[in-house]
């Protein structure tokens, strides 16, 4: 197992991603942020705060859980916990920045898009991820990437956040190790 990013790396990446989002969207107009449970939520909150620091304006920030939209529920024997979804603002005509920690097969993001579309019709949806580890199984791509990390399917990328895990770091672990 090795550490790919430490706390400072993550902080700088969040800073850069926030700037990139504002640059590409030319400011905060119609912009909203939605984090994907679980750690995408913490990362989304950090991006939201950083954007507020940079532009002086708070963005509507929501959270969504994809469990009920998964494409593999009948294949898993263990029941995943259904967590909160809270999108208390309208998505009509908004530019949604979806935030997640790791982009892998793309199935989580596909499910998240379906959740968003059930809430309304955004103007567009963009994706920001801390890590893109490759191995897409669906035609999905990120618009803002913290770091591209080529991995093998024997490996796992583990993101830890202060709020849930007590520290900020990204680890790469071989399956079976822990």
């Amino acid at each position: 197992m090795s550490q790919l990013m430490d706390k400072e790396d993550i902080r700088r990446i969040i800073q850069r991603l926030s700037h990139e989002i504002l640059e590409k969207n030319k400011g905060t107009k119609d912009l909203v942020i939605v984090g994907i449970q679980r750690r995408g939520v913490n990362l989304a909150e950090r991006v939201s705060k950083m954007v507020e620091q940079i532009e002086g304006e708070a963005l509507p920030t929501g959270i969504l859980d994809i469990t009920l939209y998964r494409d593999d529920l009948t294949q898993i024997a263990h029941q995943p916990i259904v967590r909160n979804t809270d999108i208390s603002f309208s998505l009509e005509g908004k530019k949604v920045i979806l935030v997640d920690d790791v982009l892998y097969t793309g199935r989580t993001v596909r499910a998240a898009i379906d959740v968003l579309l059930d809430f309304g019709r955004p103007q567009k949806i963009e994706l920001a991820v801390l890590v893109d580890r490759g191995h897409r199984e669906l035609p999905i791509r990120a618009d803002y990437v913290g770091k591209n990390i080529p991995t093998s399917s024997e490996e796992m990328v583990e993101v830890k956040v202060q709020e849930l895990d007590g520290k900020d770091e990204v680890l790469i672990i071989k399956r079976g190790e822990h």
Binding site: D65, D118, F119
Partner: protein, 307 residues
């Protein structure tokens, strides 16, 4: 917590952890009912057959809506106008419907143990929607959910259930549920409508609402079940109302922030005066709304995984 059950037959067999897990899961489903599109694709491709051998408005519609909101197909069977009139047995009815490849039965039946029979004989999930006077687990779960949402907890609360306890599956399931989560339950009604030995379920018995309602947090009123009674217990609805209805004076004996609940349908002017049924302490309609969320949670927990 790993919810591994095939069926939901009663509260008596559930552990407190399982009950809390169901209530926590129901919270996520409650949120869906506030969305513009009140639907998730979770049980797409599954078919649920609602077999109702007794009349129902709330429970049947609630289950049908819960199924449709999960994108499952809902099939509803009512014994009136069916081959039951030609003498077809319960198990044959179920096996024939099962041969049409359904994934789950929701059963309401006059005989206690009927859902247990189906659960034992069939491989598909069975949900008890009321078996005689025995249990009505989804009602108790939605009642617990509603109370917990309002009060923040169940432990330490005092609840009074008032009415025809003998014939009430709602009372029995609630006694189990509230007891397992640490609440104190009192039952109250005319002596003719309180079963002997019910103290063994861990409840306090009272024949006077003035005594039972003192200081309670939750009041659950039950309907006088005309269709289940033999003879004259009580002698008349007027007499029942005189002694057991929830008048303003009796309501004032409970805590100021007490909740008034009823599984429905309400006999306005009998057990509940209209003003109290519609008053600010009444959460009867919340119970109904939450019922859909709780049933969605149960369907998800039973069907939303590999078996």
């Amino acid at each position: 917590m790993n919810f591994k059950r095939k069926d939901l037959l009663g509260i008596e067999d559930l552990s407190p952890e399982e009950i809390i897990f169901i209530l926590d899961t129901a919270k996520s489903f409650r949120e869906i009912l506030e969305r513009p599109i009140k639907m998730v694709p979770t049980l797409r491709g599954k078919t649920v057959a609602n077999l109702f051998f007794e009349p129902s408005t709330r429970t049947r519609l609630s289950f049908e809506l819960a199924e449709k909101r999960l994108n499952a197909d809902a099939l509803s069977f009512s014994s009136v106008g069916s081959s039951v009139a030609k003498g077809e047995t319960l198990l044959d009815t179920a096996k024939n419907i099962l041969a049409m490849k359904v994934d789950c039965f929701v059963l309401r039946h006059v005989s206690p143990g009927a859902p247990h029979l189906l659960a034992r004989e069939l491989d598909v999930s069975v949900i008890n929607a009321g078996d005689g006077a025995h249990e009505h687990p989804t009602q108790a779960l939605l009642d617990l959910y509603t109370i917990r949402e309002r009060k923040g907890r169940i432990k330490g609360l005092k609840m009074a259930i008032v009415g025809d306890i003998t014939n009430s599956r709602v009372a029995r399931s609630n006694i189990w549920g509230m007891g397992k989560l640490g609440a104190e339950v009192r039952v109250c009604g005319p002596p003719t409508l309180i079963p002997p030995d019910i103290e063994k379920m861990g409840v306090k018995v009272s024949y006077s609402p003035e005594e039972a309602l003192e200081g309670v947090d939750v009041i659950m009123m039950l309907r006088i079940q005309k269709e289940r009674q033999k003879g004259s217990l009580p002698p008349s609805l007027d007499e029942y109302r005189e002694f057991f209805s929830l008048t303003e004076e009796r309501l004032d004996l409970a805590r100021e922030d007490a909740l008034v609940m009823h599984p429905g349908p309400v006999n306005r002017g009998v057990e509940l005066p209209a003003r109290i049924a519609d008053g600010r302490k009444s959460i009867i309609l919340d119970q109904v709304t939450n019922g859909v969320a709780v049933r969605m949670a149960i369907l998800y927990l039973l069907l939303g995984r590999r078996r």
